[in-house]
């Protein structure tokens, strides 16, 4: 019982925030996706989404590549190996705790 409660304290707070959890979960299921897709799926505004992505980038969970699709600028995001591992651990901890 005690270890079950302790596992809540071990939950990764970077991922646990709902906005960032949405981003990580969406990126976990794909190889890469762009900013517009995440905005469409999460319904977040550009500013909020950008700040969450910056936080995930700081934690080295997400890799951001600025590129062009034709003449249109495109921001492509990919979950890093560390991000993938952290999300799997987060799911395990959450399952154990609840």
């Amino acid at each position: 019982m005690k270890s079950q409660i302790r596992s809540i304290a071990e939950i990764d707070r970077v991922i646990h925030e709902p906005g960032r959890l949405m981003i990580i979960a969406l990126l976990f299921a794909v190889d890469r996706a762009d900013f517009l897709y995440l905005q469409h799926e999460t319904d977040m505004n550009k500013g909020t989404l950008s700040s969450h992505i910056s936080r995930l980038e700081e934690a080295r969970y997400v890799e951001v590549v600025k590129t062009y699709r034709g003449k249109v600028p495109q921001t492509v995001l990919r979950l890093t190996a560390a991000g993938r591992k952290a999300f799997e651990q987060y799911r395990r901890n959450l399952r154990q705790a609840l």
């Binding site: 969406l26 190889d31 762009d34 897709y37 469409h40 699709r69």
Partner: protein
């Protein structure tokens, strides 16, 4: 955890947000039925019954589906609701493994039944039920697609209860020489036509709704 689970499923459902997935499978089913019709209604020595024609036909069909889907995604979907690149496992290996397994089992089953001169129109109805069961995955994403699911089920039932003579009339009387009874050939042909037509209509409606309810947003300032 179900919230996270549903989030993990969303990117897979996104592939068909514009109906392209259904249009592709519908086109494939109708292409198979067209080839089947040509094979059944031409002499066994005709060009449509040659292996090289079959291979060219499959190459053209898969190229149209692959490049057509890619063109729609690049020109319409990605600028409107965003770009997604799937993992190689989801993109190639799983569909290839499923397609290969189903084709191998079907081909082996038909060949086995034909060798024993069994009447195999019932498996055509079972194939229809299998198609309909597979469609549940798509129907779960949008409420109105359950209507398409019902149409698929009704179509399967119709194929199962149609008089044998009517099914035989769809196939040519040369089909016994090919190791398959006219009735079974007609039932399989009809199943593919119904499934292809329903998917094309469903995909077409999805595509129309998608184009009319989304607009390409300004992308500067990311």
């Amino acid at each position: 955890m179900s919230y996270v689970g549903s989030l993990l499923e969303r990117p897979k459902a996104y592939y068909n947000i514009d109906g392209v997935g259904e249009l592709g499978i519908g086109f494939m089913c109708l292409s198979w039925s067209l080839l089947g019709w040509l094979q059944l209604h031409t002499p066994k020595t005709s060009v449509w019954n040659q292996m090289y024609t079959f291979l060219i036909y499959v190459a053209v069909m898969t190229s149209i589906i692959h490049y057509g889907s890619k063109a729609i995604k690049n020109r319409i979907t990605y600028p409107r609701t965003g770009f997604v690149d799937y993992r190689p496992r989801d993109k190639y290996w799983i569909p290839m493994a499923v397609g290969f397994s189903v084709s191998a089992v079907m081909a082996a089953g038909i060949a086995w039944a034909a060798r024993r001169h069994w009447e195999i129109s019932t498996p055509a109805s079972l194939l229809g039920l299998l198609f309909a069961a597979g469609y549940i995955r798509i129907a779960r994403t949008v409420a109105w697609k359950w209507l398409m699911f019902v149409i698929l089920l009704v179509g399967t039932v119709i194929v199962a209860i149609l008089p044998g003579e009517m099914l035989e009339s769809f196939a040519n009387d040369t089909s016994p020489a090919r190791g398959i009874s006219p009735r079974a050939a007609g039932a399989f042909w009809m199943t593919f036509v119904i499934y292809g037509a329903v998917l094309l209509v469903s995909g077409g409606i999805s595509f129309w709704l998608y184009v009319h309810h989304t607009q390409a947003p300004a992308r500067e300032g990311e």
